[in-house]
């Protein structure tokens, strides 16, 4: 059975609080607050949002001013623009998109000192003393001064 996706059209302007329990695409303008727990919010290329947004996943192709909070992922596409703070465990930002603000990818249920993932501490990877001659780098060799 075909399930229709909820969407807010280009000419629609909403001032206030918007919440729901299904995926939503916004092509119009929303000022206020958006809450879609467990669902995906897509801000279409014509969408203009000035709001605090909470959702499972947020995809931005239009313009957003406000903080984004996603339990899974925030995805800013090439045409997307975000000014605000992002809190999400995964964030993808395409080259050419615009972003200004802060990004916090810490998993809140994880202690901070365990949240560093798979990163290998550089010092442990290169135990040799710094005074030794450097190996030939890929490009732009350096000289210690």
């Amino acid at each position: 059975m075909h399930e229709e996706l909820a969407s807010i059209g280009k000419s629609i302007v909403i001032n206030g609080e918007l919440s729901g329990s299904e995926d939503l695409t916004i092509e119009g303008r929303v000022d206020g607050k958006i809450e879609l727990r467990d669902h995906v919010l897509t801000v279409g290329s014509n969408g203009r949002i000035k709001a605090q947004v909470s959702a499972k996943a947020i995809v931005v192709l239009g313009q957003v001013t406000g903080n984004l909070n996603a339990t899974e992922k925030v995805d800013i596409k090439e045409s997307g623009s975000v000014e605000g703070d992002i809190v999400a465990p995964r964030v993808a930002i395409a080259d050419g998109s615009h972003f200004r603000g802060s990004i916090d990818m810490q998993k809140k249920d994880q202690p901070a000192d365990k949240a560093v993932g798979t990163f290998t501490k550089p010092e442990a990877k290169t135990p040799k003393p710094e005074t030794k001659p450097e190996p030939a780098p890929v490009n732009g060799e350096f000289i210690r001064v």
């Binding site: 995964r90 964030v91 990004i103 916090d104 901070a112 550089p122 890929v138 490009n139 732009g140 350096f142």
Partner: protein, 234 residues
């Protein structure tokens, strides 16, 4: 010894820089200018960076560190710093601010703008990625930014910056993509202004008098990669 007094202080630095490094388009011949190469525009080159490695190792020792990136947003850097190193990243893109001031012919307002640019509280940042922003800032603006960076850095916090060796008439900025903990990929993009301000080591020392230098690496290109750390008050 008070370096600031000996060298005439920040005001002396500003006036000396203004004398020594005029706009290349005002007084041609007084500034060494890199030839513009069309091929270089599209080239992406991988560079080894010792200072990045050290920067990351210092950052790694601070769980949930707060990093301020003065450059434009780069998705792969966000992934690297956010997911692998576990930082909170503040993307500021001062290059866009410089461009806006240049286009609106308001470069003289940059010092005042930069003095109030950061909303971060004093001593709240664990690290700042400055890239080559100082090559594009007139002396007064550079001094204002340096003051702000020293304000927002916590004691023991680190600051990574690159300082060019020569001016250039090529209107482009560089995006620094973190390839891994030892390598950066340079990607160029158009800008409204050129790399015209060359800071000498002495000028850098005066400008960042509140910081100590952890590591300096001189690339063959003449670029100095410098890693600073804010002094911890005893």
């Amino acid at each position: 010894m008070n370096t600031d007094q000996k060298s005439g202080g920040l005001s002396g630095l500003v006036s000396r820089l203004s004398r020594q490094h005029p706009r290349s388009d005002d007084e041609p011949g007084r500034v060494a200018v890199e030839p513009r190469t069309v091929a270089a525009e599209s080239a992406e080159t991988l560079y080894a960076s010792k200072t990045l490695q050290r920067f990351l190792s210092l950052l790694f020792s601070r769980p949930a560190a707060e990093v301020v990136d003065l450059g434009p947003v780069i998705g792969s850097n966000i992934t690297f710093l956010g997911e692998r190193v576990g930082c909170k990243i503040h993307v500021e893109d001062l290059y866009a601010d410089i461009d806006r001031h240049v286009k609106q012919d308001k470069v003289d307002q940059l010092p005042e703008f930069l003095s109030g640019r950061f909303s971060l509280p004093d001593g709240s940042a664990d690290a700042v990625l400055g890239w080559d922003i100082f090559d594009y800032l007139p002396p007064m603006a550079a001094t204002a930014l340096a003051g702000e960076l020293m304000r927002i850095l916590r004691p023991g916090g680190v600051f990574l910056a690159f300082f060019g060796a020569r001016a250039s008439d090529n209107p482009r900025y560089t995006k620094y993509l973190i390839e891994d903990e030892m390598h950066l990929r340079y990607r160029f993009y158009p800008s409204a202004c050129t790399r015209r301000w060359v800071l000498q080591n002495r000028d850098i020392n005066i400008m960042f008098a509140g910081l100590e230098i952890c590591e300096t690496v001189l690339l063959k290109s003449g670029v100095r990669e410098i890693l600073f750390r804010k002094r911890i008050l005893s």
